[in-house]
């Protein structure tokens, strides 16, 4: 663990491409150790005592922010949450100034969630401490991809050479981009499935197969990841109605019949029951949705621990 630790200390985590496959496996191994911590009665280790972690969130997010917060607290770090509603952002301070001001208070890591792609990368250039991308626009969400890998790994015992499908709004999804990158790093064959209006124009650059037929997408896959569809996209004219969307792209029990018996169903949440995923599928035996949430805490503990370089417990 010590060598893994040294390799990560003081670095940023902005995108999956910042990591090698070996480093990702190192993160997974570390995360498994921390998963055990969350099972204990006293869910706290002193590893990051005296360290400060700032969650700087420019987008509403309960899940990711809470996950980072719990992760930091279980490592005994001091965790401060700043969200747009309570910060100077709404008073018109620029992002640069906000980051510099937070940096001046000498945190050990800043987790940045921002609607604008590249904002965490910019923060990383000026902050003088580790910056973790907590999701930036449609660009990247590396900790989500890492926790998804962990979830797959736990079930399959491997993340190598998988066949995976990602279904939904690929165009606007940072989760899709980071997962495509992470899965492909381990030799996966990834298929994306969406109406053409929800696929980026240059989709072939992502190195994925494309289909518009969900049955074809889920057939023969180890993993099926469903993405949340936002009604905003309907208002933008990208599809006509939620009803029609779900008719074609909802993962229902019927669709699932085309899948393998050992398929893993995932969703980064929050789910729209009955829209992109049928209720019974979300709650069904193949679903790993809550397991993903559990692994989110463990993986973020691993990331915080390795980047902030806590002392050995």
């Amino acid at each position: 663990m010590e060598t893994v630790e040294k390799k990560f200390r003081g670095r940023h985590l902005l995108q999956i491409a910042d990591l090698t496959a070996d480093e990702i496996m190192g993160l997974l191994n570390t995360a498994y150790k921390f998963k055990d911590v969350s099972e204990r009665e006293i869910k706290k280790v002193p590893t990051l005592r005296g360290k400060t972690i700032v969650n700087l969130f420019y987008e509403p997010s309960t899940r990711t922010r809470t996950s980072f917060e719990i992760a930091g607290k279980r490592l005994s770090a001091d965790v401060i949450n700043i969200s747009t509603s309570s910060s100077s952002v709404s008073k018109g301070e620029t992002f640069k100034d906000t980051v510099l001001n937070i940096a001046a208070m000498k945190p050990d890591a800043i987790v940045v969630r921002h609607g604008s792609p590249g904002a965490p990368a910019y923060a990383a250039r000026i902050a003088g401490c580790s910056v973790i991308n907590g999701g930036d626009g449609a660009n990247a969400h590396p900790t989500q991809a890492l926790l998804d890998l962990m979830t797959i790994h736990e079930k399959k015992g491997t993340v190598e050479n998988l066949k995976a499908a990602i279904v939904g709004d690929i165009l606007h999804s940072r989760v899709a981009r980071s997962n495509i990158n992470a899965l492909k790093m381990f030799g996966a064959e990834v298929t994306v499935c969406a109406p053409p209006t929800l696929l980026p124009h240059g989709v072939k650059a992502l190195g994925v197969k494309v289909t518009h037929d969900i049955r074809e997408a889920v057939a023969d896959k180890d993993v099926v990841m469903m993405l949340r569809i936002q009604t905003e996209r309907m208002q933008q004219g990208l599809f006509p109605s939620l009803r029609e969307y779900s008719e074609h792209f909802c993962l229902s029990a019927k669709v699932l019949k085309s899948a393998r018996p050992d398929v893993l169903i995932m969703h980064p949440g929050p789910i729209n029951r009955g829209v992109e995923i049928a209720s019974d599928v979300a709650d069904g035996p193949y679903s790993l949705i809550l397991s993903q949430v559990t692994h989110g805490v463990a993986m973020r503990m691993a990331v915080l621990y390795l980047l902030c370089g806590g002392a050995e417990s």
């Binding site: 620029t94 992002f95 640069k96 921002h114 609607g115 604008s116 792609p117 590249g118 904002a119 990368a121 910019y122 626009g137 449609a138 660009n139 990247a140 606007h172 999804s173 940072r174 981009r177 980026p200 124009h201 240059g202 989709v203 072939k204 650059a205 992502l206």
Partner: protein, 428 residues
């Protein structure tokens, strides 16, 4: 009156007269007095241009000088001096100031400010429509009387084809050319960079090339139908270049310009999320860059214009979707254009044509020639001078350049406007 200047032994390149030879140029009383071998000084100040190129001063048909309204980004004075530093003796400033240059009083304000500046000439471009709204025609006749040299809603496209049609017809009465920022605003809505493989990978909202293609095509069709001229600003796509090429072959009065960043960079530059690579039109693909270069070579593209768009540093440090579009260009235009000469794409005479002769012709501006009796607007540049771009050294208030740190060959040494030396840092 300014003193006489004899520029000796430079390589005089004047495509307007087919001159490319080592000669002298005598400037007197604000005009070109003579061009020839071994001219007598007769008391004139002499400038030794040995090893340097002497050319009619560059003319930029597309700059944003930001005054009135955005003086923290640039002023008429700083923009005009930045132009002179880059070898430009005249610039045409776009109307998207605050207030918009859509009436004669704003035009007169710009010209009054410009008259007090010891830099490049400033020619205002008037708005096509009131407030750049694309709805009602601006007071084009009044603005013409006050001194505008062309019309444009630049920054915005005239989306209503009927409005554009009337604008072309109406402007023709005053001999003014319509300059179009070709971009279907519905297709680019909220876009930040070119739509394609890079935007797909980065998850950045794209601006498809077709947004430019379809409007360029539409505008050419309208111009052909009306038999009126149209000038396409900052052409950046393969499709638009092909449309212009085809239209020219049919005799349509279409002209166009390309900006140095559109032949120097591709969309890949956005991989760093640097807002200094955010411009409109956006940086395109390698195929588009190749098409722009070929257009510059074969004459489809008439001139190089910078789309000089200064912004405050803090504005470009905003998140990429908040940061404004545009980069400064006046002081890097020559060095970037010289890369095409050094690549062997074309020779120096074509370069001078693109930077001076042709832009003068397109808007019927004074300058662009070393003909005896023409205004003495001249620049002298060193094609071999190697330098590193450092925005801190720009005369422009805008330091927003994606070319910081680039090593370029070719730098302007001396600029004469109306017979007066306005830029001569090394005291030639």
């Amino acid at each position: 009156m300014s003193e006489a200047i004899l520029i000796q032994n430079g390589r005089v390149i004047d495509p307007s007269r087919g001159i490319d030879a080592v000669q002298d140029v005598l400037v007197k009383d604000g005009v070109i007095a003579a061009v020839g071998k071994n001219l007598a000084a007769n008391g004139a100040k002499t400038v030794d241009a040995k090893g340097l190129v002497v050319s009619p001063g560059f003319i930029d048909l597309h700059v944003h000088l930001r005054e009135p309204g955005f003086e923290y980004k640039e002023t008429i004075a700083t923009g005009s001096m930045a132009a002179a530093a880059g070898g430009f003796t005249a610039v045409c400033c776009m109307a998207n100031t605050k207030p918009v240059n859509d009436n004669a009083s704003v035009t007169r304000f710009i010209l009054e400010k410009a008259a007090a500046v010891n830099g490049a000439r400033v020619h205002p471009i008037g708005a096509i429509t009131k407030g750049l709204k694309g709805e009602e025609l601006a007071e084009i006749g009044e603005m013409k009387k006050a001194g505008v040299v062309a019309l444009s809603d630049d920054g915005r496209c005239v989306m209503d084809a009927r409005v554009l049609r009337h604008a072309m017809d109406y402007a023709a009465m005053f001999g003014l050319t319509i300059v179009e920022h070709c971009e279907d605003e519905h297709l680019v809505k909220g876009g930040i960079m070119n739509e394609g493989e890079t935007s797909a990978r980065l998850g950045i909202k794209g601006m498809p090339a077709i947004a430019e293609d379809v409007i360029a095509r539409r505008d050419i069709d309208i111009a052909a139908y009306l038999k009126r001229p149209v000038h396409i600003a900052h052409i950046s796509t393969l499709g638009a270049v092909e449309s212009v090429r085809a239209a020219k072959a049919l005799g349509t009065a279409v002209t166009c310009e390309a900006a140095p960043h559109h032949f120097s960079l591709t969309e890949k530059s956005l991989e760093t999320f640097d807002a200094n690579c955010k411009m409109n039109p956006p940086l395109r693909t390698a195929d588009d860059v190749a098409a722009v270069k070929e257009g510059l070579r074969d004459g489809t593209i008439d001139c190089i214009a910078t789309d000089h768009a200064p912004h405050a540093t803090w504005e470009k440090e905003l998140e990429i979707d908040q940061a404004p579009y545009g980069i400064v260009g006046l002081e890097t235009a020559l060095g970037l254009s010289m890369r095409l000469v050094r690549e062997g794409l074309f020779g120096l005479p074509r370069l001078v044509e693109l930077l001076s002769t042709n832009p003068a012709r397109i808007f019927s501006l004074p300058g662009g020639t070393l003909k005896e009796g023409a205004p003495a607007d001249v620049c002298i540049f060193d094609t071999e001078k190697k330098w590193t771009v450092d925005p801190a050294e720009f005369v422009s208030l805008g330091k927003n350049s994606p070319f910081a740190g680039w090593e370029l060959f070719g730098k302007n040494c001396l600029t004469i406007v109306g017979g007066r030396i306005v830029y001569n840092p090394s005291n030639l």
